[in-house]
Symmetry: C2
Subunit: 270 residues, 2 copies
Amino acid sequence: MSFGMVEGDGMTSSSASIDAFHKGGFYLKQPKDMGHRAGIDAMLLASLVSEQANGRLADLGAGAGAAGIAVAYRSEVKATLFEASPIMADYARQTLELDQNQNFAQRCDVIQADVELSGQARVASGFEDNAYEHVIMNPPFNEAGDRMAPDALKAQAHAMSGDDLFEKWIKTAAAISKPQGQLSLIARPSSLHKILSACEGRFGGIEVTSVLPTQYDNAIRILVTGIKGSKARLIIRPSLIMHEDDHDGARKYTKRADDLINGRTFLARS
Amino acid sequence: MSFGMVEGDGMTSSSASIDAFHKGGFYLKQPKDMGHRAGIDAMLLASLVSEQANGRLADLGAGAGAAGIAVAYRSEVKATLFEASPIMADYARQTLELDQNQNFAQRCDVIQADVELSGQARVASGFEDNAYEHVIMNPPFNEAGDRMAPDALKAQAHAMSGDDLFEKWIKTAAAISKPQGQLSLIARPSSLHKILSACEGRFGGIEVTSVLPTQYDNAIRILVTGIKGSKARLIIRPSLIMHEDDHDGARKYTKRADDLINGRTFLARS
């Protein structure tokens, strides 16, 4: 369990594991052999929110809740985890009942609801308009050419809603954000144009950070933040390099990446 | 003349200088005290075209011709420099008549024409449809908040055509490119969304490289390439870091940046 991230720690049943994050700072119950297991992506997403954050945070498409819970663990936010899958929403609820999470669990709740709803149906499902200081999302992706999801639950988590997925998700994010609220998301580089188009007229002051496996590789993820109603120009931040070789030539996390995925620091906006 | 780039070398008149590029590989005649003087941006733009390139290249908004001439100098392309300003087009013609440039000048020509024309007017001005293997551009910018251009010629070079500048320029680029032709451009990060929108349906396989003053700074430029008609996904390349501190703490160009701006290598596509 070198980084205490996604390895089981023995507290497992036949269908679920309880995994330590942030070096045991909090734990996550999630399906063991099916579904989309939380890991580095969720921790990088969480790292976009300041540890000084307070007020309310919405995690859209929260899955088992990893990203929203990580922010709640290391800040004072009240986190609402929105997840369409009843199974995954139930895992998130079980996570909040774990003894290890009682220091912050009372600041979190789970709503089983579909991010892609709009209008009155969205409000009726629990998405409150103009209510959240922070909205975070790790939208599902399953583009042509990706490895196919091996089981139904994972397929649901990764299901594309067609070309307008980011339009729908970011529309909901803008509706529920307070003025000056911060959107934070993690996605694939190939989604960059759709993300920028969906942010147009909703979120400005966009900041883009590329995530590179090593300094020599193309980006595998982008981290994007924006501020509701801002007119500020787009900024491209220095890339986040995940791995480097140590003196023995073994690959390891860079200090920056290790600090971010273990909640020791966050990726501040400019 | 530490990098032989933009310093005058004594061969000046009262209004023009003749400047060495690529360590004296070629020279550029340009207005000394007015207009937009060519420099690092033009050399970075040129570095996006392979030294193996051949066929025809169009430099849109060529100014005094620096970028297109740099590519012609280190490859076998036939370069056409399109420039709207009669004064700058005349400087480009004078550059091609310099004794120092005779090794490649016969492969270059200058057309005084406006990139923003469309339809028959564009063709009549000398923009040949489906004719170029490479199209390069360093479009003018003068956004609100930029330092104002101090003189009229520079103002013309930097004039914004409103919000649709990239739409117009990339539309022309797509019209004159051969199928599978490569678009290469340099721009500000804040133009990223407009560039991606203008490329939609025209150029695919977009590759974006950020240019950072140092590894700790936000990007000041983006280098973008695309292939006409390609359906390939957008890729984000490792950033180009321009400067680092040497052992004495003095700032210097990184080897990578120095090699690129002096034509010793090029920024290959993935």
